[in-house]
Structure formats: structure tokens, C-alpha cells
């Protein structure tokens, strides 16, 4: 776990305001590379978009007309430019399969599902993982310490798609406590929504609990040896204040680092969890689009996940200077 605790610099250059600006410039560059890679993906994907759109029965005249209308006769850089300007404006085309606007399908329908699932899982993981990690650090070699390591090992061994099936078997089929599929938006019906999301969020959160407990434990162990902890105790502050105020304040940074670093794992888990529980999120959208070879939908999916990734990484970098005043000092 030790390697995960080091603060990393995904975008950081300089300090203070300059740091933010530098970060923005770097982010812009990464965005550009991402857009080129996504466009390249679309161009590399097998099959001819024109024949896909026209179906099996078409005349060469209509083929040529559509070929021209789609701008496929233009040079590549120009095609890229057209694609990018349409993409930025939210004009992402229409799905051949569902006949739906892709922007609407991806951003307005699928994205909120994935975000809700991920947010709920993270919440579960934090609420369970942090106290578990604190207990494990304060009472080393106790049952809590053992539980924390067991959860960490188990979380790595049970991939979401397997854990999901196991939870469906135990809580859905055998005990019949929770529904095993379907999605009800919590913002429409809170009770039903949370009830339907219980198993998926548990599946995705379980893996995170071990990770967060492990990071909390190891960082807190380091913090416990610091002189300021003794100083706080010497001032007669109660133990809970020493741990939760002085101690946890210094654990926040490695925690944020790990949450940012493990975003890939979170998305990986979310995709699989959505498919196990048939939740209509981004993972489900991309999976079925790959199966039906609908490359423009796949591409919309990879663009959104990449944007999400970049945004969270950027936010994590900015959080460092909020959490750690030492990083702010040199700026002006």
C-alpha cells in the first residue's frame, strides 16, 4: 500500500494560481490527445458507416450522396475538425439501433446512473472503511485490524462481476431481501431507488472498503508517531479529538490520493456491476454498443469516461493545496 500513499503529480506544475493555470494548460493538452485518439478509434473501426446507415438495400447514387453528406470525402484533418466542433456542441449523432440522440442517451440517461452508483458506493466505502481503518490503527492486532486486512485481501480477490453474482445468490435469490436487477432513479423515488441500488452499491463499494481501510490504517500509523500528536495529548485533549481532529486531518491527503488513483478501478468495477445488475449506465451502454458494433456510441462512451477521468484527476490535484497548506506557501 505504501506506494499508493505518495502524492502524485498528474498535472501539477508550479504553485498557487500559476499551478491552477498550468494544470489547465496540461489538461487542455491531454483533452486534445484524447479527442485525437477517440477520432482515430472511429476511423480505425472496421466496417463502412455509410452501408451501416443505409442498410443492405441501396443504390450507388444514394451511397455517394450520403458519403458526401457525412463529409467522408474530405481530408482527415478537416473531418476531425468537423467531428470535434459537432462534438463540442453536443451534436453526437443518432444511434442506428435505438434511433435515439446519442448525447441524450449517454449524458442525460446513462451518465447519471453511473454517477449515482459510483457515488453511493464511495459513500458506503468511506462510512465503513474509515472507521475500520482507524480502529485497525489504534488497536493493532485486534479483531478490527484482522477484519481490515481480510476485507482488503477479499476485495482484491473478488472482482465485482463475481461478487455481484454471489450477492445476488445470497441476498436476492436465497434470502429474497433485495431486487437483483433494474434501476429506479433515486431522484424520482428515493426509497425504491436506494432499495434497487443496495446490492450494486454494496458490490462496488466492497472492493473500495478494503482499500480505504488499508490506506487509513497505514497513514494513521505514521501520523500517530508524530510529535504534534503527543503535543495534543500533553495539552490534555481527549483521545477522540487527538485521533479524529489532529490525526485524521493528516490522513485526508493520502485518502484523496488513493480515491483519485483508483478511479480506474472504480470505473472498471462500475462497468461490470452495471452489467451484472442490468443497470442502464455508461458501462452497460458501452458494452452493448461494442456487441452491436455501434462505434459512434462506443466512442461517445470512451470520450465521456475519459473526460470524467480527467476532471476528477484535475480536482484531486487541486484538492491537495486545499488540504495541505504547505503546498500553498510558495505561491502568491
Amino acid at each position: 500500500m505504501a506506494s499508493a500513499v505518495q502524492p502524485r503529480a498528474f498535472f501539477s506544475t508550479g504553485t498557487g494560481f500559476g499551478r491552477v493555470l498550468g494544470g489547465l494548460a496540461q489538461t487542455g493538452l491531454v483533452l486534445w490527445v484524447v479527442s485525437v485518439v477517440s477520432f482515430g478509434f472511429l476511423k480505425l473501426s472496421p466496417g463502412d458507416p455509410v452501408t451501416v446507415m443505409l442498410g443492405s438495400d441501396f443504390s450507388w447514387d444514394s451511397y455517394d450522396k450520403l458519403y458526401h453528406d457525412l463529409g467522408l470525402d474530405l481530408p482527415l484533418p478537416l473531418q476531425y475538425w468537423h467531428w470535434l466542433s459537432r462534438f463540442v456542441q453536443g451534436d453526437w449523432g443518432t444511434s442506428y439501433v435505438s434511433q435515439q440522440d446519442i448525447f441524450e442517451q449517454a449524458v442525460l440517461q446513462a451518465l447519471p446512473v453511473t454517477l449515482t452508483l459510483a457515488g453511493l458506493s464511495l459513500l458506503i466505502a468511506l462510512v465503513v472503511g474509515i472507521p475500520l481503518g482507524v480502529l485497525a490503527a489504534v488497536r493493532r492486532n485486534s479483531w478490527a485490524d484482522l477484519a481490515a486486512s481480510a476485507v482488503a485481501i477479499g476485495g482484491n480477490a473478488f472482482p465485482s462481476f463475481y461478487l455481484g453474482v454471489v450477492l445476488i445468490w445470497i441476498f436476492g435469490v436465497t434470502l429474497g431481501w433485495f431486487p437483483t436487477m433494474g434501476f429506479v432513479a433515486p431522484w424520482e423515488d428515493l426509497g425504491q431507488g436506494l432499495w434497487h441500488l443496495a446490492l450494486p452499491a454494496l458490490t462496488l463499494g466492497a472492493w473500495y472498503v478494503g482499500l480505504i481501510a488499508a490506506v487509513t490504517r497505514s497513514s494513521l500509523l505514521e501520523v500517530l508517531e508524530q510529535p504534534y500528536m503527543d503535543a495534543a495529548r500533553a495539552r490534555g485533549e481527549p483521545e477522540w479529538r487527538v485521533i479524529w481532529l489532529h490525526g485524521m486531518r493528516n490522513v485526508l491527503m493520502p485518502l484523496v490520493t488513493v480515491i483519485g488513483l483508483q478511479l480506474g478501478g472504480m470505473l472498471r468495477g462500475a462497468v461490470m456491476t452495471e452489467v451484472v445488475f442490468t443497470l442502464p449506465g455508461l458501462g452497460m451502454m458501452i458494452t452493448s454498443a461494442v456487441q452491436t458494433r455501434e462505434y459512434i456510441v462506443v466512442q461517445a462512451g470512451i470520450m465521456i469516461t475519459a473526460l470524467l477521468f480527467i476532471l476528477v484527476n484535475f480536482l484531486v490535484d487541486q484538492t491537495y493545496s486545499i488540504l495541505d497548506p504547505r503546498l500553498r506557501k510558495n505561491g502568491r
Binding site: 500500500m1 505504501a2 506506494s3 496540461q26 493538452l29 491531454v30 490527445v33 484524447v34 485525437v36 485518439v37 478509434f41 480505425l44 473501426s45 472496421p46 493493532r140 492486532n141 485490524d145 486486512s149 485481501i153 482484491n156 480477490a157 473478488f158 472482482p159 462481476f161 463475481y162 453474482v165 454471489v166 445476488i168 445468490w169 436476492g172 435469490v173 490504517r217 497505514s218 500509523l221 505514521e222 500517530l224 508517531e225 478511479l263 480506474g264 470505473l267 472498471r268 462497468v271 461490470m272 452489467v275 451484472v276 458501452i286 458494452t287 454498443a289 461494442v290 456487441q291 458494433r293 462505434y295 462506443v298 466512442q299 462512451g301 470512451i302 469516461t305 475519459a306 477521468f309 480527467i310
Partner: protein, 297 residues
Amino acid sequence: MAAELTDAAADSAGRPPNAALRAWRLLSAQRKAMAGGGIVLAFVVMAVFAPWLAPYGPTEQNVMDAMQGPSAAHWAGTDSFGQDILSRVFYGARSALWIGFASVALGMLAGVPLGVLAGLRGGRTEWGIMRLVDGLLAFPELIMAMAFMAVLGLGMGNVVYALALSFVGPFARMVRADVLQVKSRPFVEAARLMGVPERDVILRHVLPNIVSPILIQAGMRVSIAILLGSGLSFLGLGVVPPTPDWGLMIAEGRGFVSMAPWMSGMPGVALAVLLVGLNLLAEGLRDALDPRTRSRH
């Protein structure tokens, strides 16, 4: 875990770690690696000798015996096609291990030279390579592998390529950071000043010093690769049926959870045990090779 606990006890007591403690750490790191290595070895044996160990053929269907629970004839039960699950789990070790090791090896083959080039050359080469790597790393690994599968098409070979491609970025970034660290050390500068040819500086002075971090990273990646590979199969975007593959088997069993939970359960247990083994092995390897992690918790 034992090593970490001992560490913590020693450090909080304020004692400097003595020789006995250091020896204990190495030993326990080795025990971890040994335990993990034993598990992984068992799976390798399973994969290599599957034709002799498996009681049935991996795709031998017997519809009369479909969806039977564990019995003397079928120790792990049968699936919906009447295929013997134990045999399929044995053969499934082949696809899991092959995907895990081959994709990491391929990813290293492309990522390590890129990282070395970026770290040693610096300047525009480094800038270009690292921005490309930044772009690659901006895609979550599973999403990237899914996109590659969409372009390449399904099948075992393509799973390996897709995963390998998604590992190029992480390897390149890590190797570059290590090279930068080694490059600033006096012995490299000394070798340069003595007029040692660039090629020898790389081969004799830089590479040997970045081997152990690369190995540690590779060890960690293998379990991620196996997880991603079986995940792709689970999603229906990886290995195609009827190839015996744990991810596929878990996906097939998902629809029969209420009637035949062993269909998903057995391959899942195999996957979980292998992943624990690989993680233990990688952690033991890290503890033994990297002195820095030993001084921390």
C-alpha cells in the same frame, strides 16, 4: 501482513530496527512470496496438465447430465450444456494465465523502451512521449480494452493485444520516473564522463537499476490483467464460447443462480484463489526487492 505488524510495533516503540527484525522481515516477505508462489504454481500445474488432470473433455457436452450439483461423477457439478465444471475450471486456468502473463509481457515490451527513451533523451522526445502517455492514461484501462476489442474483434489473441496496449502507458510512465532517478545518480554521470558509450551506459548502468521496480510492477499487473481478461469475457467482449474461460463460465452461470449456483461459484472460487496467490506473490516480491517499502508500514 505479519511484516507490517512487526514494523509497526517496532516503530511505535521508537527502537531502530535491528538485525533480527530485518531478518524476520525478509523471511516473512519470503513466506508471503512462497505462499503466493505455491498457489500460482498449483494453477500453472493445473493449466499445463489439464488434459491429464481433467476427468472430462472441456467441451464434452452431455445434455442428459445438465445442471447437476456436485457429485462423485462430477465433483464440481455440470453446467447447462452438461459440461463438467471441474474440467472446465482446469482448462480455464490456461486462458487466465496465458492472458495474464502474455499481455503483461507484451505491454512491458512496448512500455519499457518508451519509458527508457523518454527518461534518457529528455527534451522534445520526452515531452512528446509523455503527452502521448498522458493521453493514453486518460482512458480507464477497462474502457480502453473494450474499445480495442471493438476494433480488433473478439478472441483470446485480441484480448492479449487489447490488454497489452492498455498497459503500455503505465509501464512507460513508471520506467521514465525510475530512469530519471537513476540518471541523476553520480555513477551514471561518472560513466558518461569516462566516455562510456551511450549504449553501455543504458545496458550496464541504467537498466540493472530499474529491473526490480519493473518486476514489482509486472507482478502487480498480472493479477490486474487476469481480472480484466476474465471481466472482458464476462461482458461478452473477450474469449468466445465454448472456450473454457472463468469469466465466461461466471457469465453463463449468472442466469442460473437460483437453480445451479455452482455454475458461477466454482470458476469464481478458482479466480479468487488465483488472484490471492498472485497478490501475495507480488507483495512478497515487492517487500523482498524494494527496501523502501520495508521501512514503511
